[in-house]
Subunit: 464 residues, 4 copies
Amino acid sequence: MVARRLERMVRQVRRWRSSDGSTPIPVDPTLGEADRRRLCRLIDDCIDAKGGELAARRRASAIAATFLTLDDLGRRRFFLTLAHDYDHDDAAVDTAVDALVRSRDPEDRRDAERRLAHALTPSRERLLQRFIGLEDGLSFVVDLREELRSHREGDPALTALDQELRHLLTDWFHLGILQLESITWDSPAALLEKLIEYEAVHEITSWADMKGRLGRGRRCYGFFHPLMPGEPLIFVEVAMTTDIAADLGPLLDHDADRIASQDAETANFYSISNCQRGLAGVPLGDMLIKQVAERLQADLPNLRRFATLSPIPGFRDWLIDALDDGAPAVLTEAEAELLAPGAPDQAARSLRSVVAAADVPPPASLAPLEPVLTRLAARYLVEERRGARALDPVAHFHLSNGARVERLNWMANPTVAGWERGLGLMVNYRYDLPHIEGNHDAYVTTGTVEAADDVRRLLTGGRP
Amino acid sequence: MVARRLERMVRQVRRWRSSDGSTPIPVDPTLGEADRRRLCRLIDDCIDAKGGELAARRRASAIAATFLTLDDLGRRRFFLTLAHDYDHDDAAVDTAVDALVRSRDPEDRRDAERRLAHALTPSRERLLQRFIGLEDGLSFVVDLREELRSHREGDPALTALDQELRHLLTDWFHLGILQLESITWDSPAALLEKLIEYEAVHEITSWADMKGRLGRGRRCYGFFHPLMPGEPLIFVEVAMTTDIAADLGPLLDHDADRIASQDAETANFYSISNCQRGLAGVPLGDMLIKQVAERLQADLPNLRRFATLSPIPGFRDWLIDALDDGAPAVLTEAEAELLAPGAPDQAARSLRSVVAAADVPPPASLAPLEPVLTRLAARYLVEERRGARALDPVAHFHLSNGARVERLNWMANPTVAGWERGLGLMVNYRYDLPHIEGNHDAYVTTGTVEAADDVRRLLTGGRP
Amino acid sequence: MVARRLERMVRQVRRWRSSDGSTPIPVDPTLGEADRRRLCRLIDDCIDAKGGELAARRRASAIAATFLTLDDLGRRRFFLTLAHDYDHDDAAVDTAVDALVRSRDPEDRRDAERRLAHALTPSRERLLQRFIGLEDGLSFVVDLREELRSHREGDPALTALDQELRHLLTDWFHLGILQLESITWDSPAALLEKLIEYEAVHEITSWADMKGRLGRGRRCYGFFHPLMPGEPLIFVEVAMTTDIAADLGPLLDHDADRIASQDAETANFYSISNCQRGLAGVPLGDMLIKQVAERLQADLPNLRRFATLSPIPGFRDWLIDALDDGAPAVLTEAEAELLAPGAPDQAARSLRSVVAAADVPPPASLAPLEPVLTRLAARYLVEERRGARALDPVAHFHLSNGARVERLNWMANPTVAGWERGLGLMVNYRYDLPHIEGNHDAYVTTGTVEAADDVRRLLTGGRP
Amino acid sequence: MVARRLERMVRQVRRWRSSDGSTPIPVDPTLGEADRRRLCRLIDDCIDAKGGELAARRRASAIAATFLTLDDLGRRRFFLTLAHDYDHDDAAVDTAVDALVRSRDPEDRRDAERRLAHALTPSRERLLQRFIGLEDGLSFVVDLREELRSHREGDPALTALDQELRHLLTDWFHLGILQLESITWDSPAALLEKLIEYEAVHEITSWADMKGRLGRGRRCYGFFHPLMPGEPLIFVEVAMTTDIAADLGPLLDHDADRIASQDAETANFYSISNCQRGLAGVPLGDMLIKQVAERLQADLPNLRRFATLSPIPGFRDWLIDALDDGAPAVLTEAEAELLAPGAPDQAARSLRSVVAAADVPPPASLAPLEPVLTRLAARYLVEERRGARALDPVAHFHLSNGARVERLNWMANPTVAGWERGLGLMVNYRYDLPHIEGNHDAYVTTGTVEAADDVRRLLTGGRP
């Protein structure tokens, strides 16, 4: 990640120099106080557009180039400077408030309001807007925020700056401007290299693995911004099958026989990865799945089902906690008896020790636990909440996008990573195009979680 | 213009329907009160994102589609609704001001400031942002503002809304995002048709005229926005010659012999036209000339001079006014004697009657006036001000871009239009790349107008 | 046409000079004998690749550039030189024939055959191949042939050269390499300008007419060669309607209401124009209609009928001849009586005088002739032959492409041009995708002309 | 290679079926006699265009699809069928010869010649031309020839067919139609995968190696055919350095410091690989280097030298043979004394045993041999011939392209592969743009090998 960022920044500096003739001002990488003051003078002139828009643009470029020469300490000082020295001016706010309070007529008040709104705007906003206006500037601001976030701790002004950047970037990463593009083995190697690096759910282990994920019966789509060509923002990997996938193995086994996309009835979204930490909190994924589903439906009229095969990342921790709190809360009597015949009060402890195992226990030892763990997973997904939201973050993401909980899959990912992210269980969230919006509304407004009948039956103790 | 706009809107409506499945709500074109209230409910839900971002987007699309079904009265009502009903809430502002005034510690104050800034933001801003996020949405907002501006008069809230839109659009039409493109006879006919329609300086009379302006020794460049493909924002026409052009005729005569671009030493920017009234006040032209000059310099290394051949649109009216005020102010004694030999006090009146003629007087009758009118034009351009700005709007545009007043050209445009926009005189503004920034600064900060020696000499009575 | 060609050639010369550094050798435009000999030496060296392939290429470029400096006489001399001086060598052929005749064993004979085939190949073939290999060289050879064809008369060697070029170009204008492209109002103006110039069937009268032909309910497609970008080879204009068009008027009236393409059931191919005279005899149109029909069918699933609205160019001349030969051959007794009541033997002469009129007779006077002329047109199209081919060239084109004669349309083109090309009658040829191949085979192998029942009934005297 | 070919063919079959609706005829993979006769009937109908061009095209497609279902034996039978059954007809040739011999006047003779040329053309030529006209057809014919070449042995008719295909493909792979494209890390992964596979000189060991060869200070260019998109025909890898590279190591070491391309003075062409065995004998490389050199010169004005770093593949075998023939022929007396002090007659044998070693001998043992082997390499390259050609194939390639022998580099490739292809020595061929043509002519016409002074001095015994 760091290497990539550095590479990108070096590229940016090179471009800026060639396109704008700008160079960094010579400062010590730590941005000592004297250097900091020199940089502030440059920032002041840039914000005031001294010497015209042309000069302001060149100064913004020089400031960005200078930032890239700083080390960690220097960058922290830069962020603190932006956060504290280029916030709004309290005195100006007070004056404007005063004028508003004393305004006599509507016209007068309107003027005062406008001046007050202006006084409340941090002066750095014009600098940030100018950064975006540079060639490759949007990338620079995204990376700037990524770095800022690693420095955020311990100073609320930095947190406020982070939020400001988030709002700014949210405007620029509107759905209307994002472009959905198909990624194939004919895509630039430089782009595929980034997918390999960014894939956060199921690691891409080699170029052969990458090729397999783009081959027969597979698709991959990403969102791109027109000002950041070649830089994926978020991408999803899709596997076409007959039925909804119950098992990760075959999806990632590129030597297995595969159905041709045209003949498939189900599109399985088995991996969604965000690529830009600097866009944390900027909603990108919300409509990716829906747009990809529509694109696939148009391309492959045989498709009848759209579903994910997702991890349940919070399940294990929740279960350990729940078992610590005492079995009655989570285990039924029958289950307790099943787990610890004759000593049901030991059941929770016994289950906890299995669940807390660092490695995947032997399948044979787990088999008896299947009904218990599957039911608990269903309960965790459908009923556990933080406020009105589903407790599980992946569940929350898909439910708020309008999906329903379709099916629990025992031992769908029997790897260590799978054990950690759901005790080997995986869940299908199903996107039923005509019901997406209704599901979304029900979840967002009343917190209702839509679930398939089999999942509901699990909750009431019946087997699916 | 109207036809074009309608065509574009029809296209938009079609796209929206197909892409988002949205349709206008059925309202009377005049948007009577009951309909207006129904539309307001839709707007409320859109702003509150009721039903999720998806639904909000579809609602924004439905609102835009509904707007397009309104007639003039209905649209005025729509604008008044946006301006008055979706402004910020005064009570909320008062509450927030109160909280700010009573805040005790910095943390508390920061919170209060954030809430106040939020309270001051008109609620319509989220609607406008959502419009931009639609497919073709940026075009829609540009057109929306164009229409708003024709309704602006008589209600300061509409003027405020216009300014709000200007700010919003200024962010979206950053130089960083604009693309400079060469326009040639190989460009789409649909694009050239727009140039023919938008050309505001020297009318393009036919497709043959258009072809001539893109032929040997000619170039044309425009700025485009990636979200408005095929829609020029501003364009400039350039003619390559040996010396700086003194006369419009040869530039527009496509049958005349022309020097090849590679052999030319001068690039004459003889026409710059804005294409989008909805972008009034959004700075686009500022760097167009400079960017085109740089592009040309790179392409055609023989070029040594960049200059405009520009009208002097305010000259005639200014001169009539000045002569009304009494000759002493503008005519020298020698000139007065020249114009009215033996009766110098009649000189101003006599000159005024010539200048005020609706049609171009016969060349012979004008010839004696050449030195007088040329000197007066130089004075008008270099010395007449409104505040620190040059009085002539075209002069102000080029001077604030860093050009200098290079040469006055007698009878450079001997047409009726030329008579109205400068008594047939035209002026060259010269862009000397290394001095652009210095000129800009001098003009912007101290109001200094840079002028060539010959022009200076004119001012002091000497012939160039 | 000449202007266009000149323009293209000037462009070529410019490109060649810049890309290859080649210049024409200085010859008199008439290519006097001394100059011709110098040019021959250049051609010899080029054919022998003296100095390597590099030098050969540069020489080919110089020869082409020199050709472009020649006047009409000079070019004729150039063609005669190619035809006579760079044919194969008779002596070499005789020697090779001799060797073949005296060959003893198969191996020996194979060798002799190879040498004979080589001896029979005109030496100019290598020059022509080298021309094609130049930048823009394929265009050059197409234009070269266009010119050659105007010089062809009176020398069989020139006709042979023309045929040689046709074979060469047929290889290069394979269907596999041609690209079918949609032409729209967003196509380059330079391309549309060429359509305006090349349209051979229904003149495009203005840019507004061009725009109308590319607007709502209209399509246009052309074949292009990858080595001649922007240069259409052949194009077809299509109008979408509910029923098969019976009348040219509405198709060319751009102010009339039009059905949207998506709602149309019939695609009418109302104009097909070849663009390159230099490709005469190279089959291009054969599959254009079929490919366009397939493309349209995929795009517009509502389409159910594909038909042309075509002129009957040979009808009038044929009818005049037939009437000269004496009425019995073409008029039925009933018709004769109808045309000349009481004096049936005058019928032919009377009809002939109407038909031979230079201008369109008044509709009222023509009305009584409708049944007679319509029947005669059907007979002409379906039954008149030159050998096994339909006599009418347009009929032959469509029939050999697999269409059938669908309907005769009285007064479908009531203009002077329409009168000349079919006495105002036009015919629909229908392309019924599943029957195209069967129709083609029947026509090509047995000369059977497929016709709709109504047309058949006409032939036997019944009204449709 | 086989895998790639299969993949491509599968792709082709898929395309053909979808585009033309054609399917292979059901034959046994071995193409038994009955099946062969059925296929011949299809071929006959295709050649005769029975049922029209449409049907002929579909039949060509079916024949190609059928070919792809054949196994090795079946394909051999197919090739033998083409070679023997679809050659020209000897009887027809005899008849035509007869007619020619008995022709009386020029007109008559011309006719007879035309008929004879036609009779000499193998009937399969029309089938092959139709293959090319299919979608992806050019690729198919290239692959067809690749396969044919593996079956060629033992039947002169197959060799003749191979030559026929070479001539046909030479027409289609004209320099004029080939496109020189830059290949970068932003090129499609599918393309880079092919480079990795096709690289024939210095194996690309991984994707990281591939990336390194496209990184800072490196360039790669390939020739492509517009009808075979994404399929490289030949490519060259270039390394930018200060001086002409003497050593392969640093060129392939991607961790070493590298000069930026803009600052480099030398472009080293260190690897040229043909990609299509089916294009053997079709000249592609001839101008690749020259075109790349010109492109680089335009891009990087600092470049002053263009040179290869090439293996000397025939050196070792030649030397072993020469030493077998007896030392006097190749070793000077001084060298013999040096190699075998006191027993110069053992020198040859002693040197031979070193040279014939399977593995690279220890550097220390080789050091004394440097002057001897370097001189012998110079002699081998400059003086050893097969006819007028340089004996070494790589030397012949570069010399006939106009390069000169610039410098011998001792231990430039100290790997086993390097030992086998030149005893570790490599040679720079220098492309001096202004002298390329003169060098070419001298080499082609008189066999003169241009060499740098230092190389010449080596030959006469002096040290460079």
